[in-house]
Symmetry: C2
Subunit: 171 residues, 2 copies
């Protein structure tokens, strides 16, 4: 299915004035659009022998699991502090204002496993970069990063230029 | 795949003393276990002509999308206040201590659409019951509720006895 960008809705001034938010819910509720996005990501990485698909809470949970299902891989959640119940590895990283912290279970990934990272949106790349470091700290091999949407004008790809990146929709 | 309960890890005293938390991450990272759970839910509801699968943030996002993918349905997220960018319908409901509020986009579901509700865990049923009311307020027909895990001793099913409920693993 082409023209998936027609299923993305611009919301001006959300979450704050001056930002145009990319609302992915019209695409999610369209079975053909949703399936096409999952298929495009899965097809791009189908020869990479992906063992695990990793997504960060909350919107990384939406595309990660169906891509894992299609690639016959497992799914690993990265979560905010206090949510994962077992032993965790954590990373703190800088945001525009302040810092954020993310955690992954220490036993989530085995050494040498091929990992596909997924999120709905690539903006500056800060969150994805932190997630890749978490996976690498466990010995995982980041085989690629996939997004539904890439905001190219924010150059997030530069921070992630050592990885194979794929985006379904580019702005 | 039988014995999926072997992929659920008990974590004593999480998130607080006296509670035994059911950790689903070992199942998620096992491709066969994860696929079997998605298949069992999809198979149970495959003749119900499901139009939309609905899951609430954050763990309802994990099983909802792959089941939607398998049933050729759309996926609709229910989120905490301030996360959905378009016009929303909301509901507040009582927790053990205090109240919680959830929102859905008003245009997420059309009148008469068949909706499958998904969450990872059925405990007292309070959150699922609130989610069903949100869907019904938009004119959706709740065709069923599915869970990875049901804690039968908490009788959550009683609150949801007018719906067709299916759980992959029961305790």
């Amino acid at each position: 299915m082409d023209n998936l960008d027609k299923l993305i809705r611009d919301i001006p001034d959300f979450p704050k004035k001056g930002i145009i938010f990319k609302d992915i819910t019209p695409l999610l509720k369209d079975p053909q659009g949703f399936m096409s996005a999952v298929d495009q990501i899965s097809d791009y990485f189908k020869d990479k022998e992906i063992d695990m698909v990793v997504g960060a809470e909350a919107r990384g949970f939406i595309f990660g699991p169906p891509v894992a299902f299609k690639l016959n891989a497992g799914f690993v959640p990265i979560r905010k502090p206090g949510k994962l119940p077992y032993d965790t590895e954590e990373i703190s990283y800088e945001l525009e204002y302040g810092t954020d912290t993310l955690q992954i279970h220490k036993d989530a990934i085995s050494k040498g496993q091929n990992v596909l990272m997924i999120d709905d949106l690539l903006a500056t790349g800060g969150t994805m970069s932190a997630c890749c470091k978490l996976v690498e700290s466990l010995g995982g091999n980041v085989a690629g990063c996939a997004y539904l949407i890439e905001l190219c004008f924010l150059n997030g790809k530069e921070l992630l230029n050592k990885y194979d990146c794929f985006s379904v929709i580019k702005y």
